[in-house]
Symmetry: C2
Subunit: 554 residues, 2 copies
């Protein structure tokens, strides 16, 4: 293929029209590189599902072309699917030192030992066939985040990663504005921009604001202070530690993922805690309340988390007492609002004071709001603009923002997972679709739970099940035992004996009809039973349990 | 009992430590009056439950003492349980004209014809034995709301109802500050105050603000305008209508509850729409897009609502088109966030512009924020203060607010449902508990779904069910048919034949062991099967379906 005919394909495999499981394949000629490899936590209606990962059949089909996976940062929605994906496609994985550190831990848990993980630094370049990628520093809600600029013979594809324009980040690592400006000046062919907060006006507050709030709150508290936040928010944890030191308090770290993350961050130098400040959980009680800060998991109200166990008076080492102050330094992820609210209520019931209100500076977002997004677009002024990382409304709001800055609508592509964007020398267009979607992980099974199973789970969850078992003589189709009825999740049987007896009668009637009419086809008999019984139960109870007739032959 | 020994008992039956199903019994000597009679929509984990109503066993046990039900306003969480409660206790029900109008419609749907509904106006007094109640005007997010002041020989118990201090309400009916001041001056024994927004700083904006936003938005739109809000928010609807008229647009009302509510509100004079402005749904297409406003249900993303059907291109009369603007004039009720977000995404996908962002003035709350709550407490300065209508954290925040205004902590009672507060001439104390809690309504069943059924539904929803049926000879316990295996919601059977075959083998093994050991007790055999199979399945799949062995005898 001559260079003039070359095309860049941007193939969204996750994170386009959804928040989570971010994954984008960039193809140029025979080279595919993949940006991020995230998972998603299931929505409520995916009953029983543990996690959701992207459908990577496109990558598997083009396995020999896939040369690298580039990670922008260490959040689950950017690295969480790696253990599943590397089993199918084992290519070099590039990421910052912290990102690689987090991934190493994750792969170990999944018993994957053959991964080729490579640490890169900001402004470092990685060559993959005709593509050269440069990483650049961005700030977000986990340290050591980077965006990527993919240099192809056709031009530069620039992906912001998750980004906020924090002017006073805790580690001093400001977004590499000069590098972005340099690319802007050079000319960027296509820009992919984080849309998570594209529907929020103004600026996202700096992480430092939370530090200031902590300082003020810590100064006022005379009892123990318990802070919960995302375990990956190392800078938030740093700010807790810094203020604890300032007020002469020791720090105990509680909750498995918090302990792990603090350990990794400490080892890699992303957090600064002097040894004499850290104490063990079991030693908390050795210190007076005004000398202790506890950092814990549970900011999302997760039922098994340390904070939830404290809230239910079920934590071995931390028994809440009046005078304790709990600071919820996080925002509920959509869908977790109720769990968090319940945890707050339980904490109050234990006698603790709880600081959780919105807008009081105990939490800030890690994503750019509209004014920041405008700055980014104006700094880069790409030829084509593609909003990424957002539900459809976020992508649309981001697209409109770009439009308001003068990017022509025809050069803005709001894509959803699977929709291929093809960029040539002269123009860019949508060009076909590849397989993309949700692969459901339930226990050890990856992709073996589909719509039928979920539909059944849904029905079972609403009205339960009624099983009708009957044994018939295979020679003459006569009923020799049953029908027996067993129900679960339908009614409390002891209080509804008559209902069950009546149901048995109805089933018997249906079977009699079949016998008299000489209907011997099992499917027909079952349909009769289901139909008769279903109508009867709905009339009596207003419910529609799953009715499952089982016929045994002797 | 001499007057000196008399006590007032405040008996919270709902809405204390929760948002919803508000109900408070006030007892003085042999007279009980009940304030509000609400329902609650079930939380996610109440699988299959339709609505939740208060446990009224206390009222039923004291039936002859219950003299009246007083309604503060017509929202579901204040009147929704009436159809269930009146079946048990048919006493006079007092409420404003609109409230009674709404209740009438509700009772008709439930085929209740013998209710004694009595319309009262603000400042009207109702005598019930030794108690005299005066109603007073308050503003909220439905018209014709009132609070109640219960005059007992011991003093006044004042209940704010749901309240906001709207200085410019759409109907001009400002909170009756003078009446509140009069009571304050006279001396209020106990005040019960709406805590819903007690964790929000500042003031709640006036309903008029939304009207101004509408005016601005309507002025900018050149296509159709579709506004969704709560069907009961008559003033919001009025503001849509007013602005439609202003810009020469016709108004179509869509969605069953919206049509009903507009009808009641029009009949009773709570809404002002000239006949030539209203058009029928089927006539929408006769008008150019810039001459139409559609008011619709669906502000909570309810799956069957009109707006959701428009969003899925499934509405008979309203087919969305580019140029349409949808205004979501509501906030998601906690738990509905995802449904609303999904609807917004779908609307964007239909090509509509959607205005849904927070803080841009398309919605305001109907409850007082902290500054308003402070005004109320300072106006009334009760002897005892009892926060109501809120989850525990809201009650606590409201209690702290009262404390910050100088009400002594010993005179503030944070109660939960069932906790009786007893107020005497000299002091007030908690005094025992009465039955209170959730009664679950599922289909036609009231209270017949309990923890066991819900636990089963939960398990079924997570990993499904595996049924193992076996027929044995009752004389010698030999297996004559089966074991057969049927699963639902566990795995997709066609793709997991081997798994099912193996499971059958495992069940057979368990049965063999029982047979050989001569274990004939069914419970023992079933436990064996469950145990063997459960372990096997967990090992193979990481899942724990409900295992249900069924033994048939021939």
């Amino acid at each position: 293929m001559s260079d003039a005919d070359s095309r860049i394909q941007l193939i969204p495999l996750g994170g386009f029209g959804e928040i989570g499981k971010n994954m984008l394949a960039v193809k140029y000629e025979d080279t595919i590189i993949v940006i991020d490899c995230g998972l998603m936590f299931p929505e409520e209606e995916l009953l029983g599902i543990d996690v959701v990962i992207p459908d990577i059949s496109y990558l598997v089909e083009n396995k020999e072309k896939v040369k690298a996976i580039l990670l922008t940062h260490g959040h689950e929605d950017h690295v969480g699917a790696l253990p599943y994906v590397l089993k199918e496609i084992n290519v070099p994985v590039y990421g910052s030192r912290l990102t690689v550190g987090i991934v190493e831990g994750k792969l170990k848990e999944h018993n994957i030992n053959n991964a080729d993980l490579r640490v890169v630094r900001p402004r470092e370049k990685v060559s993959t066939g005709p593509i050269e990628t440069e990483f650049f520093r961005v700030s977000h809600s986990i340290p050591d985040c980077m965006g990527v600029a993919i240099n192809t013979p056709l031009g530069i594809v620039l992906h912001t990663g998750d980004i906020k324009l924090d002017q006073t980040p805790v580690d001093g690592q400001v977004v590499d504005f000069r590098k972005l400006a340099e690319y802007g000046e050079k000319g960027v062919l296509a820009m992919l921009g984080d849309s998570t907060n594209a529907d929020r006006t103004g600026f996202t507050m700096s992480e430092k604001v939370v530090g200031n709030t902590f300082e003020e709150l810590f100064g006022k508290c005379s009892g123990r202070i318990i802070v919960t936040t995302f375990a990956s928010n190392v800078h938030r944890i740093q700010q807790v530690v810094t203020n604890a030191e300032k007020y002469g308090r020791k720090v105990a770290v509680v909750g498995r993922s918090m302990v792990n993350n603090v350990k990794i961050a400490k080892e890699l130098g992303y957090i600064n805690i002097s040894e004499d400040v850290l104490i063990e959980m079991e030693d908390i009680k050795k210190y007076p309340p005004n000398k202790v800060v506890i950092i814990t998991t549970g900011s999302q109200g997760e039922p098994m988390s340390a904070l939830t166990r404290m809230a239910t008076a079920d934590h071995r080492w931390v028994v809440l007492q009046p005078g304790d102050t709990v600071i919820i330094s996080a925002t509920p992820i959509p869908g977790n609002e109720k769990l968090v609210a319940r945890t707050v209520d339980l904490l109050f019931r234990q006698g603790a004071e709880v600081i959780y209100e919105k807008g009081i500076g105990v939490h800030v977002s890690g994503h750019s709001a509209q004014e920041e997004l405008k700055i980014l677009i104006n700094l880069i002024r790409p030829k084509y603009f593609i909003p990424v990382h957002g539900e459809y409304r976020h992508l649309m709001k981001h697209a409109k923002l770009a439009e308001s800055l003068g990017i022509p609508p025809s050069k803005i592509f709001v894509a959803e997972n699977g929709q291929v964007i093809e960029i040539g020398r002269k123009k860019a267009t949508f060009n076909g679709k590849v397989a993309a979607g949700k692969v459901l992980v339930d226990g050890l099974g990856v992709g073996d739970v589909g719509n039928i199973v979920l539909r059944d789970r849904k029905q079972l969850s609403q009205d339960g099940i009624m099983i009708v078992v009957v044994t018939i003589n295979k020679d003459n189709n006569e009923v020799v035992a049953g029908p027996d009825i067993v129900t679960r999740g339908f009614v409390y049987v002891r209080e509804s004996e008559q209902l069950i007896e009546d149901a048995k009668e109805k089933a018997k009637e249906a079977l009699d009809i079949c016998y008299k009419k000489n209907l011997t086809e099992w499917a027909v008999i079952k349909a009769q039973v289901r139909d008769k019984l279903g109508k009867h139960l709905y009339e009596k109870t207003g419910r529609r349990p799953m009715i499952l007739p089982i016929i045994m032959e002797v």
